[in-house]
Amino acid sequence: MLRLPPFRFLRPGSVDEAADLLAVHGARAMVVAGGTDLVPKMKRGQMEPEVLVGLGHLSELRAVHATEGGGVEIGAGVTLAAASSDRRVGAGHRAYSRAAALVSSPALRNVGTIGGNLCVDTRCNYYDMSVEWREACGFCMKKDGDICRVAPASKHCRAIASSDTAPAAIALGGTVVLVGPGGCRREVSVCDLYQDDGQFYLAKAPDEIVECLRLPPPGAWRSSYVKVRRRGAIDFPLAGAAVALAMAGPVVEGCRIVLTAVGSRPFDVSAAGEALVGRELTGEDGLLADVAAEAAKVAKPLDNADLHYVWRKQMTRRAVVQAILEAAGHSPALAVRA
């Protein structure tokens, strides 16, 4: 079998201590909670930490708190299974609990954490391979090489943002609390956690740890998340759309659209949704198709994931339409061909 390389495991007493340990050990260290992303990647040589700072045992990261007005604060160590079934989360933040429920498989959701999914590594089928395969391929800039295999002219890595929960959290106006060395805390929007570079996809400092996710009170916002993948019981997203709608009766008052798996970061394409503001959603005119086409303009799939990239682009538009209709409470059966 593939063997896990040797590493040193540290067990900090608190998140603050964990951040301090990251600062001390620098680039040689990584944090681990559920380990569902990290452990297989260590076996394949994609990640080679010498020191792992454990977070899984920290009960302070495993709490869910309801906040005033229907908001919720979810500890980064809460498992995806727990978050997706927590009624305090689901009540006002359907897109988020739905996204958490659609990550991977039941077994991995029982172990994988919500903080881990926000920070999940970008994916690419030139990169998610054993060291032997990558060596045969000549390596790529994300690990051990210097060019992007799927887009050799690209100056940056084009691995795909593959978090299901990130677009939902962004559409819901979520923020994360980051803990740095010395107990230093800052709160940033989930949207600002990412940058459009498959290699350096997280905009936080390497020694900052996600402590919790805060989803604000939903107010009039209703949301949904639609995931496109080959098999409904395991796969990463090939495209995903999170939509939040503020509705006044049948009329749209606000529309946020966030896409995942269409580039190296989740994209907030809410500007495309402005065309819906002040309009009624019928699902039968060309309006939704136009909105979806505008929203999906940012999607530039490449041949580095499952199925044909043209299909993935087409399905991005379709996911947007479906997510809008679902958020509005319409039946998905109404979805028009995007």
């Binding site: 054993s130 496109v228 098999r231 199925l307 043209v310 995007a338």
Partner: protein
Amino acid sequence: MTTIEAPRDERDLRVVGRSLPRVEAAAKVTGSIAYADDIVLPGMLFCKLLRSRHPYARVLSIDTSAARAVPGVVAVLTGHDLPVNYGIMPTCEDEHALEHEKVRFVGDPVAAVAAVDEETAQAACRAINVEYEPLEAVESIEQALIPPDDEPLHDYAGPANVHRLAALEFGDVDAGFARAAHVREDIFFFEGNTHLPMEQHSATAQVVADKVTLWSSTQDPHYVHRALAKVLDLPMGKLRVVAAPHGGGFGGKCDPFSHEIVVCKIAMMTGRPVKCTLTREEVFYTHRGRHPVLMWVRTGVDADGRILAMHFRSALDGGAYGSYGPASTLYTGALQTTTYAIPAYRFEGARVFTNKAPCGPKRGHGTPQPRFALEVHLDKLAADVGLDPVELRRRNFVKPFSRTVNWLRITSCGLEEVTNRVLEASGYARRERRRGHGMGFAVSSYMCGAGLPIYWNKMPHSECVVNVGRGGVTLYCGATDIGQGSDSVLATVAAEELGLWPGDIRLVTGDTGLTPVDLGSYSSRVTFMAGNAAREAAAKMRALLVGVVADEEGCAPEEVEVRDGKVGRMTFEEAATLAEERFGVLSAHGTYTPPEGIGGRYKGAGVGPSPAYSYSAAAVDLNVDPGSGEIRVNKVWLAHDIGRSINEMAVRGQVEGGVYMGLGEALMEAQAYRDGLHRQPSMLDYKSLTFLEMPEVETILVETHDPEGPYGAKEVGQGPLLPVIPAVVSAVHDALGVWIDEIPVTPDKIVRALDARAKGKEARYGPKRFPDIPYPDLVKVAPPDAAPAAL
């Protein structure tokens, strides 16, 4: 002890035909069975193979000095230590356990390390320095047909990188086409896929007193035994190959493999036991799975839809080595005639070498690809001539106890009945016609064991010994249970004859040191062949016990009943003890050799003949989302002519497994390459069905009581997969009106076909041309007298 009792009235069967848990089931589900990788021996070393990183390259040098210096490393091997070539088929022994001159695919083994643990062996492999001179890789069938700039992959066969060509004609095909009222041509492609067994291959070797024992997850220890004797230059008697309890074969563990040879060699060199277990990625490289096949088919029918002539061409992408390739090639043309009475038939086949993991046999060996092409082609042909697709098929069905134009002997044949039963159960004719919902139907047939062995020899294909001693029964047979239930078949047969239960029979199987020969678990041969051998052995033992008891009780042998653990009035144990007192060792044997005359005598006639054929029909009900092309299979009905169920529960399990695998191939599975590299060598990225995608399967068993099968039984391990794939394609067409002429049928292909139609183009996704292949002159074979004649 030499006379066999005449077959008893089979209505009186007490064990055969029941639904019973398999004999090894409890041990498997409780984890008490030791699979090959569970074997741990004192002082055992762990072996890893260094594999090529190049699709095609000359090996200039291999420097193992750094690897030898790694602490904990005990042995390092290269191809110089194992220079003897081998291969499963005598006509293409083109493999070396470790390649030291040329590597031919990414994953080709070049060196091996044995060390005190797996991590050390792996680290030492990485310390081996191999100097390569890359050569231009051959990546497609088309490219393999062109003379290479560098050199062909192998120094035999040709032209270019062609491995094998075949061209056969039975009857006058041109005349058939000339008389046809309608002629249709189609082109299809079936992408390669792999077996995906749950168990990764594992082998452990040990040398004790000059004798080598290999425990391996192999399907045919006999062929591994032969290859080891050749490569290791040891007499067969010094070698023992044991097929360990198996975690899935499906054809992927039918070749002798590098890791099996290497562990034996290192055990011989070091005197220590050695184990090698492949990683999942290595299993994808070891492969020997479904060939990618490009196919062209032309059929002429008369005004009533009766086939007058068929011309079938195939081109197989064989990957880097021969493996079973010559057989695979002929199988793409052999069984078209066992479902349809084709009066004139021409087959031209070609297999090419490419720089990919070698292809070989996978469940249905060489026949799922042409079955998909043939069935979909007939659907289109039916539409052309305005006939219902089922009706067109019916008009051409073969008849029981007939002879095909290519000389295959058909015995029992439940084709009409499996068709009727599936149509009835599925309501296919009354199906709901609405956009996005469809049903498809297809039929197929498969062999109950290959009529000839893989290498020429006159030994029986299967031998069995039944020993009785101290009241217990032990059955010895070389057959290998790869999860298909062959042990249960053997135990059930022996129990039936001896008036016992399957759980009363102790089994020793798949062990070349302890059991008589059986050729192995391939070509769906075990129930038919080993089953018959077991029945003969057990019936002889029964006759012996009956004789002793009749003497003792002073009655005629016919009056002695053998049932419920008793022989006459004595318990089985009492009868056995009495017999042992009289005769000493109680041992009976049985053998099975396929009958003469079941096939033709032309070159290539060795592929296709079988003592019997199973028949299957499938109906598939599915929904396709017209916006995304995503398919939801709602239900599959599968009727199978099993001849007779030896164990009905096991038969149903095999049907469901076959449907599962067929759906996986139809919808998802693809062993695909990009720039010489496997695109998805992991279980996450190589897509196969999960529980969620697996629909309900309604299994309908049809019993035709084959005259030569044990109790009338036929095969079930492979046949039920075959009709599922074309039935899916047919159902997608039924739902949306587009033909997907390429397997797998993925959502992106469906959307592209829909988009093509929307643009006024052909409502189809699939290959557009078939390459020019330098087929040789046709070997013209006169059909047998009793072949289906054109009306």
